[in-house]
Assembly symmetry: C2
Homo-oligomer: 428 residues x 2
């Protein structure tokens, strides 16, 4: 029998509902796993076992039981919580105590979740990394910026966690850690109360170990039952797309994409090749224009009053942002809007695209969280993205694909990702 | 000779630049005006004269001088400031001390402005009013939710102030107080660090006593020189539009719109009548659907943990918001997106529309801040709006028109509004 901490949200929910497992039992199982593994993984910025157990006991006493009843959730440390500090991965915010929960956390608690602790983020969810290691090999990065959330879920410390993505901060760490990351369509989950680094890109999303769990979590948070994975699923129509960033794919990703079309087709999917319109070639660069411009404004106070306490390459990015002209920014936004309209056309014959999630396995070393090259375009387009783990690379570290849907059609993208996860699970 | 506190930003800027006036002199003039008038107007939530003077002296000593050098600015109390509390007009946030300036405030300071104090907001920038009175008649509302900012600028306590608009919270108080309010295109000024009540509607804007001053302020904040009013202006092409909300216009507004087309045409403007497409009729109701849905999420923590400390009608609005289905919300957003595309068509032959700014003069009483019926549609459409004061009503209180431009064409809307303000100034 598997330990409680190994079970996913969709397995746990009915057990908790039937009171076969108490909130306290589940919390203890997770806390024991954390105690065992945290000295290697460093997933948490703040976590208080006594507070977690008190919260679990309160849930056991509660009359009302929400759809996330007693499920332990990790909260990335750029997301405000009233009961834990929120330090944004920056010494400027050491000991910072927000007055309120961010809405996404309040919604999780309203649905019965146990906010178990704050997870490590890179500095302001940008590049300078935190101490978190990859649970599959502590000499490798877990990816970022949602490093702690991805590592904690991958290492079975928690069944669910919150992440945020402005470039590739959910999909990349999910890929490197071998779990599911779901970046919804822009705005689907409220991002109020999250430290902003780009008003037109910042997106709240979730981590879980199965697409079904991620969908359950997002459905409860957004009160959108339609996001849940249906019991009966037809085989999807999948558009295989190498994207303009394909030259960044490493051999293990090249091999993955040589094979996966055949595998999915043999499982019953209808697989076509999709090429994106030429206008999309510019998007990766336009992401930089838009993000740099916006982050300089978002962190204006930190830049003005605390410049010495910002690390590189963030400081350089802010300087670049102040050098982007309003005209260049406006032109970039116009191109992006045009591409958003064309995305539905590119997806015409498919339920979702399958594209690379990351260049390859998690790179060695903790000095960088890796490259978001395969993620930025989709964040910019506001499209729903789901990272689905698919086998291992030459170093034995996880590989993954990214399922991309039409803007606003998250349920369809999740269903397709779930089908792919089941289909691939039969293979490995 | 007019007192210093009576001068506008564009008049003061060159005097400060040439050091004919020091920052301290200007701050003292404003503080004396505030000391005289604040007992009646109640524009400020937090204001410390000693801190303001210390800030002014620091500006006098500073080597670098920005485009807003030494200009005193009021900051609506839902906008974070590191040096003053930020209480959101709610007892839940009594004494709340944000760790950082909101970017819009940091940008103002970076340009040399003196953030002189926090101005009264309604509760969370919604309907329950604060203590502010209308400077033209203290028995009348100043409008809201940016009540203190509008009243302080109208009463010549400050040349400039920040407001925010989700429904009609800039344009309506500007109209009731007889000043210029400028709600930019959505996202033009950063709204990070502002207490969110609707992620898809909240917009930061400014108050001033002339369009030229408002444009100077917004240009400095956004580093968009193009927003400044050009020296040479041709007469605009104006679309007079009564809007689907016309039945809400009171007799003084009906009279205003009977006359203004002729006045503007005699001044040289090309005036046409513009009717909006029938699809736009639904927008006022869709604003409620979208705002209610989003505010329930934005204030989820307050609703969960502090329900007893929320006033009506806010509590009722949150309950309504939880009852809006995701499907209804999604459908509303689809219609709004379609109308945003059609707005440029409706403006085809004009530089901007001229529409009512408010039903009429500021209503009597301080129990309500009046009706945002003529503002909500334009906030929803993300279009730039400028309130231009135009004469007086039967009670001797200010009237105004609202100039609405194409989304993203703020410079053109401001230039048109400036031309109208000059043209109307010659009449009264």
């Amino acid at each position: 029998m598997r330990a409680l901490y190994e079970l996913g949200a969709a397995e746990l929910a009915p057990m908790l509902e039937r009171r076969e497992v108490s909130a306290e039992q589940l919390a203890r199982a997770c806390l024991e796993r954390i105690a065992e593994r945290e000295p290697v993984v460093h997933a948490f910025a703040h976590m208080d076992p006594e507070r977690a157990l008190a919260g679990a006991r309160a849930l056991d006493r509660a009359a009302a039981r929400g759809p996330l009843h007693a499920l332990p959730v990790g909260v990335k440390d750029i997301i405000d919580t009233f009961d834990y500090p929120t330090e944004h991965g920056s010494p400027i915010y050491a000991g910072n105590r927000p007055a309120a929960d961010a809405p996404c956390v309040a919604l999780a608690r309203a649905a019965g979740a146990l906010a178990l602790g704050k997870t490590v983020t890179t500095e302001f969810a940008t590049f300078p990394p935190g101490p978190t290691t990859n649970p599959h090999n502590p000499a490798h990065t877990p990816g970022g910026s949602s490093s702690g959330s991805a590592a904690a879920v991958a290492d079975r410390m928690l069944p669910l966690a919150f992440g945020t993505q402005t470039g590739g901060s959910i999909i990349r760490p999910a890929a490197f850690c071998g779990i599911v990351g779901y970046k919804p369509s822009f705005g689907l989950l409220p991002r109020v109360g999250v430290k902003a680094i780009s008003d037109s890109l910042d997106t709240v999303g979730v981590f879980a170990r199965s697409v079904e769990d991620a969908a359950l979590f997002a459905a409860a948070l957004s009160r959108r039952e339609a996001l849940r994975i249906p019991r009966e699923l037809r085989a999807p129509r999948v558009g295989l797309c190498l994207t303009p960033q394909w030259p960044a794919a490493q051999p293990e990703t090249q091999k993955l994409f040589e094979d996966i079309g055949g595998h999915l087709a043999r499982s019953g999917a209808r697989v076509t090749r999709v090429a994106l319109p030429p206008e999309f070639d510019a998007l990766a660069d336009l992401h930089a224009t838009i993000w740099d411009f916006e982050i300089a404004r978002c962190l204006a106070d930190e830049h003005l009053r605390h410049r010495d306490r910002l690390r590189e390459p963030l400081r350089g990015q802010l300087a670049r942002g102040w050098a982007v002209s309003a005209d260049a920014y406006d032109a970039a936004q116009r191109t992006v809007r045009s591409c958003r309209h064309k995305l539905a056309d590119a997806l015409r014959d498919c339920d979702a695209l399958v594209v690379p999630a990351a260049p390859g396995e998690a790179p060695a070393g903790l000095g960088s969280t890796g490259d978001s090259v395969f993620n930025r375009m989709w964040t910019l387009l506001h499209a729903p993205c789901v990272c689905v783990p698919v086998g291992r690379g030459p170093l034995g570290l996880p590989l993954a694909v990214q399922v991309v849907g039409r803007i606003g059609e998250d349920a369809r993208a999740l269903a397709c990702a779930h089908w792919i996860q089941l289909s691939e699970a039969r293979r490995f």
